[in-house]
Every structure is written in structure tokens, then in C-alpha cells.
């Protein structure tokens, strides 16, 4: 059992200082309250014959003194807390940028060079790292206890979080905002490596290929090819050359098959069903994430490009 958390980042040391300050104030006040209470409870218990005369009813002097004392201490703590907080909001300009995409129950990290990792973040030591984070579904929270930093990750909006790790080692990464079933499974490791080891790690992990290629892989992996491939048992509209052209819908209107329409049809297929087709396609919302969606759309767009207009 360990009762002490290593401070592995510059921000951690400052926040630890504040925590110790708060702890000192709390123990002082607690000692005062529990001490006085125990003293009075023993000294002035019911049958103790102690002299209780000269009751000072003028409480005004006491009230003002302990009220101003509390106000001053609290104001000091407020200033101390906000000064450190403001520094957490100002990432240095030369910070190493890393993209983080949170989706229901996993962290997808992508380095500028295209290296991708799941539920893990490799960072060089003693270099400021700025995480640019977004979520694909609900609100998550990127929390690294060892760095004492935490930031909610909002869907469709980018939040930044920066830290400067100064101790090697592997530290816990938690999701700290309840996000559904396996919220407790959405954990990972932050590996702080020497600069050279980090450079080697970057080269060995190589880089992915174009979005459309990845979309093609996803098209089969998610089973779309089964129906839309043209040779399956279920009758489904062919997607060759559909991108950008008008699509007649079952409710009589026609709609242009743009990005939004394709994404909506994947997430809520029963809403705009193509004319003369049955609404049998299952909804993929919660199954296909935001960046996979973008790759599928890129692939479907590439299908239209091949067919001569």
C-alpha cells in the first residue's frame, strides 16, 4: 500500500506545495476545533465543580476577530490557487503538440508524425508537451495523477492541456469524467522517456496511409461491403458514384449525398431511406467513431471519383 504519489511534472511540484499549504491550514483549524471541544467537554462537564463565573456575553470582539482571520487566510489560499491555475492555462509556444481523441472507452493518441497509439502516450522528458484533445461522443477527462493535471475532453470541441514531465517512468492515465459502461476501463499509461529513446520510438512506429485507404479497410471491417458490395443477399443501394449526386428518398423528396447525408445515414439509417429500399440497415451510432466516419466518407468520395461523371 503506498500513501504517497510521485510528482513527475513541474506542475505537480507546485500543486503539491499548495496541497501541503491547505493541509497545514486544515490541521491547524482542526486541532483548534477538536482541541477546544475536548477541553470544554472535559472541563465543563455536567457535574464538574469548576468555577463558571464572569460569562463574557460581548461576543462581538471574538466574532470580528475570527471572521477577519478566516477571510484573510481564505483570500491567501485563493490567490495561491489561482496563480498556479493560470499557469496551467498557458502552454509554452514551442510545446510538442500531440492530438488525443477520446471515444467511448478508449484513448486514441496521434503524434504529429502520424504515429498512432491506443491507451498509451509516450512523451520525452523535460520537454513541454501540449495535448490537443477532443471527444467523439460524450465528455471524457484526461487525468494523469502523477502530473497533477486533468482536463475534460468535450465532444466536437478542442481542449488543451500541457505539462512538462521531469521524471522518467510509467504513470497511470485515467478517464475522470463518467462516460458510460466501461468508464473504469478507459485507462492507460503515460511513458516518460529520455529524448533519444523517444526519437527512436517515433521512427520504429512508422506512419499510417491515406484516409481513403484506411476507409476501404473499415468498409469491409464494419461489414458495409456485405450489403453495399453488390453481391450480398440483402438488397442495398450501390455506393459507386453516389457521392455528390441527388438521391431519391422513400418520402418523395430528393437529397444531395454530401458528407452530412452519408454520416447521418450511417448513424441513423432509418431517417432518410433511399426510395424503393427497405429500412433494414442497422444503426452504427456508438459503433463507428468520428475519425472512422471521416475515413469511410473519404473512401465513398473516392468511389465517385473513379466512375466517369
Amino acid at each position: 500500500m503506498k500513501l504517497w504519489l510521485p510528482a513527475a511534472a513541474t506542475s505537480a511540484i507546485r500543486i503539491d506545495g499548495l496541497l501541503i499549504g491547505l493541509l497545514a491550514v486544515s490541521f491547524a483549524v482542526l486541532a483548534l476545533v477538536f482541541g477546544l471541544m475536548l477541553l470544554y467537554v472535559v472541563r465543563y462537564r455536567h457535574n464538574s465543580p469548576i468555577d463558571r463565573g464572569a460569562l463574557s456575553e460581548r461576543s462581538f470582539r471574538f466574532e470580528i476577530s475570527w471572521t477577519t482571520a478566516t477571510l484573510l487566510i481564505f483570500f491567501g489560499l485563493f490567490i495561491w490557487g489561482s496563480r498556479i491555475y493560470v499557469q496551467l492555462f498557458q502552454p509554452p509556444a514551442d510545446a510538442l503538440k500531440v492530438y488525443v481523441v477520446a471515444k467511448q472507452w478508449m484513448w486514441k493518441v496521434e503524434h504529429a508524425g502520424g504515429q498512432r497509439e491506443i491507451n498509451a502516450l509516450h512523451v520525452p522528458v523535460d520537454t513541454p508537451v501540449e495535448l490537443i484533445m477532443t471527444s467523439q461522443d460524450v465528455i471524457h477527462d484526461f487525468f494523469v495523477p502523477a502530473f497533477r493535471v486533468k482536463r475534460d475532453v468535450l465532444p466536437d470541441q478542442y481542449e488543451t492541456l500541457w505539462f512538462r514531465a521531469d521524471r522518467l517512468g510509467t504513470y497511470h492515465l485515467f478517464c475522470a469524467q463518467f462516460c458510460g459502461t466501461s468508464h473504469s476501463g478507459m485507462i492507460g499509461d503515460v511513458v516518460v522517456m529520455p529524448a533519444k529513446a523517444y526519437a527512436d520510438w517515433l521512427t520504429t512506429n512508422g506512419a499510417g496511409d491515406t484516409l481513403a485507404d484506411q476507409g476501404k479497410l473499415l468498409f469491409t471491417r464494419y461489414g458495409c461491403a456485405g450489403c453495399h458490395g453488390g453481391h450480398g443477399t440483402v438488397r442495398a443501394p450501390s455506393l459507386d458514384g453516389v457521392y455528390g449526386s441527388p438521391v431519391p428518398l422513400s418520402n418523395g423528396t430528393t437529397i444531395i449525398a454530401d458528407d452530412q447525408y452519408i454520416m447521418d445515414s450511417i448513424l441513423q439509417p432509418r431517417r432518410d431511406v433511399v426510395a424503393s429500399f427497405e429500412p433494414v440497415m442497422p444503426s452504427f451510432s456508438g459503433v463507428i467513431g468520428q475519425d472512422d466516419l471521416v475515413r469511410l466518407v473519404a473512401y465513398i468520395r473516392s468511389l465517385a471519383a473513379e466512375k466517369p461523371q
Partner: protein
């Protein structure tokens, strides 16, 4: 000690005036809580309009302005008629009070009729935020937000109107059975407070829905 306490005074009150002031204060306190209830809606309006100004105003331009304006005048008139009724009962004229209540209730029903007509027009133009929506493209998000705010706000106001009309009808029914007189008409005043409050809600909602988007 006044042994003959007015017929309607409950046992925990000293006299009729004590009870009537208490009842009116109670209604005012309830209206304070309603102010916070609609206040939360205004916070939603401020947030949505702040984040999606263009889409929001695009949606606002689709509202049926003439129905909103007529409804404003109708409600203001109904408040006037009802408070005239209160003035009559203060003078003891029960018959006039019943007439004023019925006129107020009719104006209320007319307001609701126009409101349902407006909703029908909106729905037929696919302005309900869920499902196929009239405005597409960049401003669709903000317009959907406006129209969801519109339907929640006018829906809540309509519910308050229906409760108001029922209360006014109840007052008219009580007045017809001689329960009110010059020195006992607290329920009439309390319902008047509620009715004027619902009128104030519409007075505030009217520019927020119809006008701010149009300039």
C-alpha cells in the same frame, strides 16, 4: 375576541385580512419561483444565441410575426379585463365579475387557438427541430436550436395558459355561486396575480422569439 370569524377563515388565522394577505404573499412567492423557472429558459436562449448567432437568427426569421403580435395584444387586454373584474368585485358587483372572468377566459382560448394555428403552420413547414428540417446547410444547427427553444418556451407558456384559463373558469364558477362578496374575494385576486404573471411571461417571450432575430 371576534367569535364569529368570517366563514372562510381557517382555524390557524386570526382574521380574514390576515389570511388574505398571507394567501397573496404565498402566490407572489410562487410567482418568484416561476420567474426562476423561465429564467433557466432564458439562460438556454442566451447560450444558444451566443454560440450560434447567425443560425439562431435565421431560425427566428421563420416565425409567424403577425400571430405573435396579435397574441401579445390579446393577453395584455385579458389582463386589463380581469383586473377590471377585480375592481368590480371590490365594489361587490358579482355579476360584472363573472362577465369579466368569462371574457378573460375567451381571450385566453382565442390566444391558445392562434397559438395552435401558429404551431400547425410551423409544423407544416418542417420547422420542428427533429426530423426533416426546413433550413439546411451551415445555419441548420443554430436554426434547430432556435426552434427547439421556441417549442419548449411556447409549449410551457401554453401549459401555463391552460392552467390560467381553468383557474379563471373556477373563479367564475365560484362567483356564480355567491361565494365572493365585497369583503371576501382573495381567490379572485390570487388568480389575477397568476394570470398577469403569465401575461408578463409572454410580454418577455414576444421580443425574445419574434423580434430579436429580425433586426
Amino acid at each position: 375576541m371576534s367569535d364569529e370569524i368570517a366563514p372562510h377563515v381557517h382555524f390557524q388565522y386570526a382574521d380574514a385580512r390576515h389570511q388574505s394577505d398571507t394567501a397573496l404573499a404565498g402566490m407572489w412567492l410562487f410567482l418568484a419561483s416561476e420567474v426562476l423557472f423561465f429564467g433557466g429558459l432564458i439562460v438556454a436562449w442566451m447560450f444558444c444565441r451566443h454560440w450560434q448567432p447567425d443560425g439562431f437568427d435565421a431560425g427566428a426569421r421563420e416565425t409567424v410575426l403577425w400571430i405573435g403580435t396579435i397574441n401579445l395584444i390579446l393577453l395584455v387586454t385579458s389582463s386589463f379585463v380581469y383586473s377590471t373584474g377585480v375592481a368590480f368585485i371590490e365594489a361587490g358587483d358579482v355579476r360584472r365579475l363573472v362577465q369579466c372572468c368569462l371574457i378573460t377566459a375567451c381571450i385566453g382560448v382565442l390566444f391558445l387557438g392562434l397559438k395552435f394555428l401558429e404551431w400547425y403552420l410551423d409544423l407544416s413547414e418542417h420547422l420542428f427541430p427533429a426530423g426533416p428540417f426546413k433550413i439546411t446547410g451551415g445555419e441548420a444547427g443554430g436554426a434547430r436550436l432556435f426552434w427547439s427553444f421556441y417549442f419548449v418556451a411556447t409549449g410551457l407558456h401554453a401549459v401555463h395558459m391552460i392552467v390560467g384559463i381553468a383557474l379563471v373558469g373556477w373563479v367564475a364558477w365560484q362567483a356564480r355561486h355567491r361565494t365572493y362578496s365585497a369583503n371576501w374575494y382573495t381567490p379572485v385576486e390570487a388568480v389575477g396575480l397568476y394570470w398577469s404573471f403569465v401575461d408578463i411571461v409572454w410580454i418577455v417571450l414576444y421580443p425574445v422569439i419574434y423580434l430579436v432575430g429580425r433586426t
